[in-house]
């Protein structure tokens, strides 16, 4: 086994740590080390956007980042979007009521990307702006229209989570395996 590094991140408000190979992608770290299977990998080349997560509140392609690059930072995945136990967050509810998903594979990335967009456009903006915002996430099922409807409908009066700000006390810790 090659050199390993200790990674400490805050994920959905909870501090998580692990010792990982430097080449482990952030997507695989979330899926395989932290068992957060809601982050989906569809191309592994950075084009489809299906693996988007929020890093310090901004969307990143988790297949194009290494886990070690996220050390000391704060992540939000789809698992962090739900409200109370069992309840959908408002954005998720809007997707539910507007047909915003079919197979559901791109949905976590769509939700997080929409969340980022709505933070910047609390009034929902225009359909063109919504389409521009989700243009980097490929969906093969819906033709996007019901996703646009969902995001528009979710605007205003949202009660979803606020993306986590960076946590200062998290500091990079490296160790040799």
């Amino acid at each position: 086994m090659s050199e390993s590094f200790r990674v400490e991140v805050e994920v959905n408000g909870t501090r998580r740590e692990a010792t990982v190979e430097p080449r482990l992608t952030l997507a695989d770290f979330l899926r395989d080390e932290l068992a957060l299977k809601g982050t989906h990998v569809a191309c592994e080349h950075g084009f489809c956007g299906n693996c988007n997560v929020l890093l310090d509140g901004e969307t990143v392609r988790s297949c194009l980042m290494f886990a070690v690059q996220a050390d000391g930072r704060s992540l939000t995945t789809v698992e962090g979007l739900a409200g109370d136990v069992g309840a959908l967050g408002q954005l998720q509810q809007a997707f539910h009521e507007n047909g915003g998903l079919q197979c559901g594979f791109c949905t976590p990335a769509m939700l997080l990307t929409a969340h980022e967009y709505l933070e910047a456009h609390p009034d929902g903006g225009t359909d063109e702006e919504i389409r521009e915002a989700i243009n980097g996430v490929l969906c093969r099922c819906t033709g996007y229209q019901h996703i646009v409807d969902s995001i528009r409908s979710a605007a205003g009066g949202r009660d979803g989570v606020t993306a986590q700000a960076p946590t200062p006390e998290l500091v990079r810790q490296e160790s040799q395996a």
């Binding site: 957060l36 809601g38 080349h45 197979c103 389409r131 521009e132």
Partner: protein, 819 residues
């Protein structure tokens, strides 16, 4: 109508009992929120790659860099020496321990899980590594040294048919795997007698369904019992997948397929046998669970399910008044390196080859050719989307030839509403329809006249605005005859394509439905089933639990595909529900001391009509049924469950000389789309000013989910029309094997559209439902061709091939201007 006498008796009974009648429907027809959604919205979908088994290993594959080459030697020593590698597997292992994959095609065309002596297309698997992690497996793949002797490649299907062309399969002695001409009616005579005809050479490019979730499987061999369990996101596991037991050299009884939801299929997971067989094989070799999931490059280069790749010569004969008479189609279809899935994609086309028009005479020639490309399989539309594009292109050409309005020429040829069931020349019937009604609806909803005036004004100002208007049939619910009526002497002639459902009310009164196909891939099987059960029992659809049987517990099922699932599972659920309701009525009649005929199902209870307080909840009935045997009628057994197998409601055999293919795809929806586009002739960019659709899919189960299918299919067809094509270089290497170069429609490419519904119930199906999963993609290629052609009419452009790329538009305009 002879077909009516051929109706399946059980299905006919269910159709009668569920036809729209005196009681208004309570749950069918409502935009109920999908019951599948919550788990997917939380990221808890449990797709194949999300699953972990104890002690599970991971596999990666080595892909051929050559399109055609003999494998001289494979050195696996360095890979085997890498820490974490459990086993390296090559064609030698496959030759020793496995049999070839199942085939539905003609001739000795053998496909193995891993190439044994030679590779036949770029990306074909030549070796696999099983390791502790996917990372290590991929590292080890890089250490495998394969020595190839490149062979001449054949990529052009026309050249592949010539004498002396390199052979893809030597044992076949030709690259033309199958060739046949079907003739229906008197085609030569009709062409001779018609006033005019138009002819065209047309090309439809190879693209692919491209789901976000690729094909994957986990094999889990149990040495103790000898059972191979395979978790797979392949469809049709109860229908066909037992055939891979032979590939794995185990009895079918020792193969257990566990269905896993798929993140999209669009055909690419339709009876996908290679990946599950491969995972099962690897697991059997090492005696531990092995996961294999295609990466995107493997999916694009080797997924076994590219769409049609067809070169056509096509002609339409018609009179000066626009009346169509005859259609002649000749097609060379490039099937790639294998023909495992047969020529059913042309059988499919023959089910609705005349579209919604009264064309009486049809000739259809097919040459299915092998080349050094990834093999064809299924893609949404299953070949009928291609023939619809061909037909609508010919109709637009006829309109232009006659200088007749494109709506008017279609209107004059539509099959009238009083002629259903309508027998088409091939023998397939269209069950019902109101085509003039759908046309009238879309002209109104799209404000067609307004847009015609708008276009004309814009054109006068020098803008390039164009309108497309196209129609399509949407055949649904295939029968299995289309897979074999191609052959005069077929080896295997199945006539079954059933679907099953088990409806169970547990002792607490909650309803659990078991489905017997893997059917969740982006459609809404659980919502459909919940709405049907809710309709029958008047309970909240969100309260119903739906699960899926594995293959060792499953009743006959065929799975989704060919827009069949909603129709068929509704029939199965209706049948099971009826049986269960009979039992509940008997119990309630006894306990409430009232005649069964006076009972109704209402709000989760069974009660006396008109007497609100005389009722028993389903929970009360259920507890009695399970726990109080002595309270039940003496001839009744305990429990409250019913299973129902529902066969294809209406199918007949082809005749011996195949001048009549029989009824094989009879529940036929009908749709029109109207698009108004503006083309930027400087950049070739196409934008939408208006996009309207009206679909008649019979009784609508859920308007919002149906809209979702229509819109999604439309945008997928937009990709086919404007961007998508798998490109091969002269050596047969795929040039666009990632999303960087294979462009799928994004949110900015897709139009905002309206979807209207027109309901002409099928007289033969449960509740009158027709299938509707493929419709959008049946129309977009034709409508984009028509609309862009109209926008570019000042330049005299005729669209005869797809995709219509931006650079193509720029080139057309430049050529017309003499630049």
């Amino acid at each position: 109508m002879s077909g009516i006498a051929e109706q399946d008796p059980n299905a006919a009974k269910i159709a009668r009992e569920t036809a729209a009648g005196s009681t208004p429907r309570r749950w069918l027809g409502k935009s109920v929120n999908r019951v599948e959604d919550p788990r997917f919205l939380r990221g808890q979908g449990r797709y194949l790659d999300d699953l972990e088994l104890p002690g599970m290993l991971h596999a990666a594959v080595v892909r051929s860099p050559h399109a055609h080459a003999r494998i001289v030697s494979i050195d696996t020593s360095k890979a085997e020496a890498l820490a974490g590698v459990v086993r390296v597997v090559t064609g030698k292992d496959v030759a020793e321990h496995a049999a070839p994959l199942p085939s539905f095609g003609a001739g000795p065309i053998v496909q193995d899980m891993i190439a044994i002596e030679k590779v036949r297309h770029y990306g074909e698997t030549v070796a696999a590594v099983i390791a502790d992690s996917r990372y290590v497996a991929e590292d080890a793949c890089d250490l495998i040294e394969v020595s190839y002797e490149p062979l001449p490649v054949v990529l052009d299907p026309v050249a592949a048919r010539e004498e002396g062309a390199p052979l893809v399969h030597e044992a076949l002695e030709t690259n033309t795997a199958y060739e046949r001409t079907f003739s229906f009616g008197q085609v030569d005579k009709a062409f001779a007698e018609a006033d005019r005809s138009v002819s065209a050479e047309l090309y439809w490019p190879r693209s692919t369904g491209m789901p976000m979730d690729t094909n994957g499987a986990i094999g889990d061999y149990d040495p103790g019992t000898g059972v191979i369990t395979i978790h797979a996101n392949s469809m049709n596991f109860t229908y066909f997948l037992w055939l891979i037991a032979a590939s794995l050299k185990v009895p079918a009884s020792k193969l257990r397929i566990v269905p896993v939801v798929a993140g999209g299929s669009f055909g690419s997971k339709f009876f996908m046998h290679k990946v599950p067989a491969f995972a099962g094989f690897l697991s059997k070799l090492v005696g531990r669970p092995v996961k294999y999931v295609e990466d995107r490059i493997t999916h694009i280069t080797a997924n076994d399910h590219c769409g049609s790749d067809r070169r056509y010569e096509a002609s339409l004969a018609f009179d000066d008044d626009g009346t169509f008479h005859a259609l002649r189609i000749s097609c060379v279809d490039d099937y790639g390196a294998y023909l495992q899935f047969g020529t059913g994609t042309h059988g499919n086309a023959l089910s609705q080859i005349v579209g919604p028009y009264r064309i009486q005479h049809v000739e259809y020639s097919l040459a299915a050719v092998l080349t050094n490309k990834n093999q064809q399989g299924a893609y949404r539309g299953f070949g009928a989307e291609v023939s619809n594009w061909v037909l609508e292109r010919l109709v637009d050409m006829a309109a232009r030839e006659l200088e007749l309005d494109r709506v008017e020429i279609r209107r004059r040829n539509l099959i009238p509403a009083d002629s259903f069931p309508y027998r088409t020349p091939t023998g397939n019937i269209y069950d019902s329809g109101n085509y003039q009604g759908v046309l009238a609806q879309i002209l109104e909803e799209s404000e067609y006249e307004h847009w015609v005036a708008y276009r004309d004004e814009a054109r006068a100002e020098g803008r390039h605005v164009g309108i497309g208007v196209v129609a399509s049939q949407e055949r649904s619910v295939f029968s299995s005859t289309e897979f074999w009526f191609w052959f005069d002497d077929p080896q295997f002639t199945p006539t079954s394509s059933p679907e099953s459902a088990t409806v169970r009310i547990d002792p607490t009164g909650e309803i659990v439905v078991t489905l017997h196909s893997q059917s969740m891939w982006g459609n809404s099987p659980e919502t459909v089933v919940s709405q049907v059960v809710a309709e029958e029992f008047d309970v909240d659809p969100a309260s119903i639990v739906v699960n899926y049987a594995d293959s060792q517990n499953a009743l006959p099922g065929t799975g989704p595909g060919g827009s069949r699932y909603t129709v068929m599972v509704s029939g199965a659920v209706a049948g099971a529900s009826a049986e269960l309701k009979d039992k509940i009525r008997r119990i309630a009649s006894d306990k409430l001391e009232v005649a069964e005929a006076d009972l109704e199902f209402r709000g989760g209870a069974v009660g006396v009509v008109g007497v609100p307080d005389r009722q028993l909840t389903l929970a009360e009935v259920a507890l009695t049924a399970y726990m109080f045997r002595l309270d039940l009628p003496a001839d009744m057994t305990s429990g409250l469950a019913a299973a129902s197998v529902y066969d294809h409601p209406l199918t007949t055999l082809p005749n011996d000389d195949r001048s009549d293919l029989g009824i094989f795809y009879p529940f036929v929806g009908h749709a029109w789309h109207i698009a108004v586009v503006e083309v930027d002739v400087e950049t070739g960019a196409v934008s939408f000013l208006r996009y309207a659709a009206v679909h008649d899919a019979g009784t609508v189960v859920n308007p919002r989910t149906l809209d979702g299918q229509v819109i999604g299919g439309t945008v997928q067809g937009l990709g086919t029309a404007l961007f998508e094509e798998i490109l091969y270089d002269d050596a047969g290497r795929v040039l666009n094997e990632t999303f960087e170069h294979y462009h799928l429609p994004t949110a900015l490419d897709a139009p905002t559209m309206t979807v209207g519904h027109h309901e002409t119930p099928s007289p033969y199906t449960a509740y009158g439902i027709k299938g509707a999963g493929e419709g959008g993609r049946m129309l977009t290629p034709a409508i984009m061709s028509a609309a862009i052609e109209d926008a570019l009419s000042p330049y005299g452009v005729t669209v005869t091939s797809l995709p219509i790329r931006a650079e193509q538009i720029v080139e057309w305009v430049a050529a017309a201007k003499g630049e």
